[in-house]
Amino acid sequence: MAETKSKLADLVVDVRGVLCPIPVIETKKVADAHPNQSIETIVDNEVSRDNVKKFGESRQYMTSVYQVGKDYHIVLVPGANTVHVDVPGITGDAIVGMTTGESIYNMGCRVILMTKDYLGEGSEELGRTLMKTFWLCMTESDVKPTTIYFINSSVKMVINDSVHIENLKLLAEQGVEIAACGICLDYFGIKEQVGVGSITNMYAITDAIVGQDLVKL
């Protein structure tokens, strides 16, 4: 992505026409390479707008969002107390929001559907080891899923005795919604042992399957 100077910031990241999570990834690359410079990221959809804004806040940038026609300009200023808002040439705009940096994690666009308590096929033993490392990697990832649903045997991972409970609790603290299927918990007789997240239903899971950017594991 080309980096140029604009009226609003030192560097511009134009990611119009690109879907989430690319706008956040590209913004992050520029922020990592130029930590002391202000960045203007231009996107053309609300999901990317919100995610870039959240990324800026998680990195303690002063963030402001401007709408120009159908596009959104998210301005990230490192370590600033105020943001200059009088910009000639931008007409008919609304300041969508201005926030100070807060310590929140960057939520990506993905919903994860866990369908069993091990990863992959071929060896359950290997799959259970992989699952341990997977959750740990997820807690350390810069971008989190918005929601993780658990169905069938995967619901065993959200109970208090689960080897994964600490990592899942950490993910919940980091803002990830954790939700386990009530039918499945009931089937395994562990509804009273849920240690993290909420108990959900098939309607919510179905809505996620048909309406969201979902990954099944």
């Binding site: 290997l126 080891t129 341990k132 490392t133 740990l136 990697c137 350390e140």
Partner: protein, 82 residues
Amino acid sequence: MDIIILFTSYYFATKADTMLTKELVPHKLMATPPELSDVCGLCIRVHPNVVEMVLSLLKVHKMSHSGIFYYEKGIPCQRYEA
């Protein structure tokens, strides 16, 4: 900053994980981080306070490792010296 103990194989890493769990030693089995290797593998992550105890336990249980490093995400790893 934590300590990472690398293993030569999946078998040794999981065997160490099982042993340390049984011995009630706080640790985490994790994927070898990219700061240490481009190759996918498993390693054990422990607090520096318990590393000597862990190394003793590995020796007692005849488990060999392939290196010990200081680890913090995003920072090049330094080798740990006892």
